[in-house]
């Protein structure tokens, strides 16, 4: 009972502390709102809008004698590169992309370098020819402004969907040619026509050759902007949960210096009860912080954090590790005067390392090592677990790692504090 009394007293004090409240709630929400307005603005119905990305297309595709087809709208097309060009210029992408055509790749790249365009797409000369040769592979070139993250991500996402459709068409043509052992261009055209028609019928729109997973038609939770907001909110929530854990655990040192902890030790209350109450307060404070932020972000930003069980496991293990890390760090400190360096240094550095995968999203040449480095710190595992829950993946490994680290932090911290106050 006294454990709970001590924990509730600490909770009451924490929630009367303006500084603590700012760190727990105002800054994580404020940062997310900041990103929200950086990447878009709210419309009347609460939908997000994103600034258009300037895309420059260089179509070098020389076509193929076999390729003569029509799009479902009736437009005659002579190369697969032209199909791609027409699709990217479709009104369906009008709110996302501002497309222009360039005659050569060098000038398109220069435009990107000079930030006249956000992305250049160079369609290779054998783009159509590769359609008829199962052994031939060709590549689109996506040249992007490295200072942009969201726009190129949107373009890449669209291209991925389109390329999936082209791959499907290539497989369909190849399969028909093999089955009939024919090289008749008319057959290839028929297959392509049927493929496009089937896609269009299935999707109910001439412009919807894209799979329904295309961002422009996706539901709110799959919106690229909302994805970014989810990432930022999740990262901020975890980053500041570790601050809260450490700051709350620091009340043990503060109470020691203010004389209230020694006074507690003069009451008929055991040391384990007193320290247990303090530790419980740390965990409860972080739990309340994270729960509040989860609920707030769900209601206000419309973020979908995933299925309840993985989210609960992810949040629970994050609470455990941030609270026990706070206890561990403070057990190493001699006084609260050293706390400033810890706040400014250790937590910021480890937090930034843990958040690296979030802030490098959309980079074209992201080093794979970033993901590994981020997992050197508990924040990295916490972020990984949370986004595994968001993406519907298994959180088991992340949760187990976080709990294992928590156990180590807890026992070392408890041992050091117990020794100090023995």
């Amino acid at each position: 009972m006294k454990v709970i009394d001590i924990a509730l007293k600490d909770l009451l004090r924490s929630f009367r502390n303006a500084f603590a409240l700012i760190f727990m709630f105002v800054i994580p929400i404020g940062m997310t709102v900041l990103f929200y307005f950086m990447f878009g603005s709210t419309a009347g119905d609460g939908e997000f809008t994103v600034p258009k990305t300037k895309v420059m297309i260089v179509n070098q595709d020389q076509g193929s004698p076999q390729f003569q087809t029509r799009l479902p709208g009736g437009q005659s097309i002579s190369s697969q590169g032209q199909v791609l060009q027409v699709m990217l210029q479709s009104p369906d992408f009008g709110s996302w992309l501002q497309v222009s055509i360039s005659s050569d790749a060098a000038s398109a790249r220069t435009a990107v370098d000079r930030q006249k365009a956000g992305v250049a797409i160079v369609i290779p000369s054998d783009f159509t020819a590769a359609l008829y040769d199962p052994n031939r592979q060709t590549e689109l070139e996506l040249y992007q402004d490295p200072t942009l993250t969201l726009g190129p991500s949107v373009v890449k996402s669209i291209l991925d969907q389109l390329m999936d459709s082209f791959s499907g068409a290539k497989i369909a043509v190849g399969a028909a040619m093999v089955q009939t052992q024919s090289a008749d261009p008319g057959l290839a055209e028929k297959v392509l026509q049927q493929y496009w028609a089937a896609s269009a019928t299935q999707l109910g729109s001439a412009g919807a050759l894209l799979d329904t997973r295309a961002p422009v038609r996706a539901e709110k939770s799959a919106s690229p902007l909302l994805g970014v907001v989810t990432q930022i909110m999740g990262a901020m929530m975890i980053f500041y949960a570790f601050y809260t854990g450490t700051a709350t655990a620091q009340t043990i040192l503060q109470e020691d210096e203010n004389g209230t902890l020694p006074r507690l030790f003069t009451t008929p209350t055991t040391q384990s009860t007193i320290l247990g109450g303090k530790f419980l307060a740390v965990g409860l404070t972080v739990l309340i912080q994270m729960t509040t932020l989860i609920v707030f972000s769900t209601l206000v930003f419309g973020i979908r954090w995933g299925a309840p069980l993985p989210v609960v496991l992810s949040i629970g293990s994050t609470v455990a590790v941030s609270a026990t890390m706070g206890i561990f760090i403070n057990s190493l400190l001699k006084s609260t005067k050293q706390g400033g360096a810890i706040f400014g240094g250790l937590l910021t550095i480890t937090g930034m390392i843990g958040m690296m995968p979030v802030f490098t999203q959309g980079l074209a040449n992201k080093p794979p090592a970033l993901e590994i480095v981020s997992l050197l710190v508990p924040q990295g595992w916490a972020i990984r677990g949370l986004f595994q829950a968001v993406n519907g993946e298994s959180v088991l490994v992340s949760v187990l790692v976080l709990l294992a680290v928590s156990v180590v932090f807890f026992f070392v911290g408890v041992k050091k504090f117990t020794k100090r106050f023995a």
Binding site: M1, D5, K9, R13, R16, N258, P262, T267, P268
Partner: protein
């Protein structure tokens, strides 16, 4: 009379410093017992050991028959401790502080509420109970600091220099409360470096210096240690060092010390010795500019036993 506290050869070292060195004394139930000594004498270290906050290197103490070494929880249950510095939560109200500390002493429900109301009444802060402690004056905080120790009606209360740094009105209130506690049958172990407080409050006084207990007894018993000696405090216009040396050699002078421009002379009989002090000063080329003759008191005792003023 039954002993509430029995301290037996208690020792505590911090490195090379002997904070408490072989100290023994007994406190009778229902009395006010003062530990008197300058800062660093070891008073707070003794209180900390008797509160089971510090482990003694050697020796033991029985508090209401419970050993501080073997049964610390039983000791804590009969104690109320008023620490030297205010040890409360500034961001909680006076009432919230008292409720929390009451729970730590095992009080619950209606009994807790009743005791909180009672102690608020005793310290005269019933009308301020909803105020945050951070907004209180130093004296008001001190009163709440004492009230916390009274919540569970302890048999013994330790008060570690409770009047340091507060206004005269609050000081008077606290001293009156201490006497009231004694009148209710409570045993009070009181530490102070103010001679007047020890003299006014205490049934017995133990004088400490450098971790050692140098004298113990009632006020009368302690004063008798220095016999009939008078204390003469003088100032001279010049040549203080020469005068001091001359007075040390003057017949009837037992001890001479100088500090802050004042020379304190311990003498058998001030009426007889004072003219000789004037003669010696004149012979040294100095003139006495003020004279203050004091009856023997605890300050005199401390000076007699240590050669230093109590305020050192």
């Amino acid at each position: 009379m039954e002993n509430a506290i029995e301290v037996q050869k208690l020792r505590k070292y911090f490195g090379d410093i002997h904070a408490v060195d072989d100290v023994s004394f007994k406190v009778q139930a229902g009395e006010i017992f003062s530990l008197l000594g300058p800062n660093g004498a070891g008073k707070t270290t003794i209180i900390s050991m008797l509160s089971c906050l510090l482990h003694p290197e050697d020796g033991d103490a029985l508090v209401m028959g419970h050993s501080i070494r073997r049964d610390p929880m039983a000791v804590k249950a009969v104690l109320g401790v008023v620490p030297q510095e205010v040890a409360l939560y500034d961001d909680l109200t006076a009432q919230e502080n008292l409720v929390f500390w009451g729970k730590m002493y095992g009080l619950r429900g209606a009994a807790l509420k009743q005791r909180v109301d009672e102690v608020l009444e005793v310290i005269g802060l019933s009308d301020r109970q909803k105020g945050r402690l951070g907004k209180f004056s130093g004296g008001m905080k001190r009163r709440v600091n004492i009230a916390v120790a009274l919540l569970h009606k302890p048999q013994i209360i330790y008060m570690d220099e409770p009047t340091v740094g507060i206004d005269p009105q609050s000081r008077r209130s606290i001293l009156d409360n201490v006497v009231a506690l004694k009148n209710q049958g409570m045993t009070v172990l009181y530490t102070t470096h103010y001679m007047e407080e020890a003299q006014e409050l205490s049934n017995h006084i133990a004088i400490m210096d450098h971790g050692k207990l140098i004298a113990i007894g009632t006020h009368q018993e302690l004063v008798q240690i220095v016999g009939e000696m008078d204390r003469i405090i003088l100032t001279v216009n010049t040549a203080a060092e020469q005068v001091t040396e001359a007075w040390k050699a003057t017949p009837g002078v037992k001890h001479v010390s100088a500090e802050d421009g004042k020379i304190t002379v311990m003498v058998d009989d001030s009426n007889r010795v004072l003219p000789r002090l004037f003669d010696a000063a004149t012979a040294s080329g100095a003139r006495i500019t003020s004279v203050d003759i004091q009856e023997p008191n605890l300050e005199t005792v401390f000076l007699h036993m240590t050669g230093r003023e109590l305020r050192d």
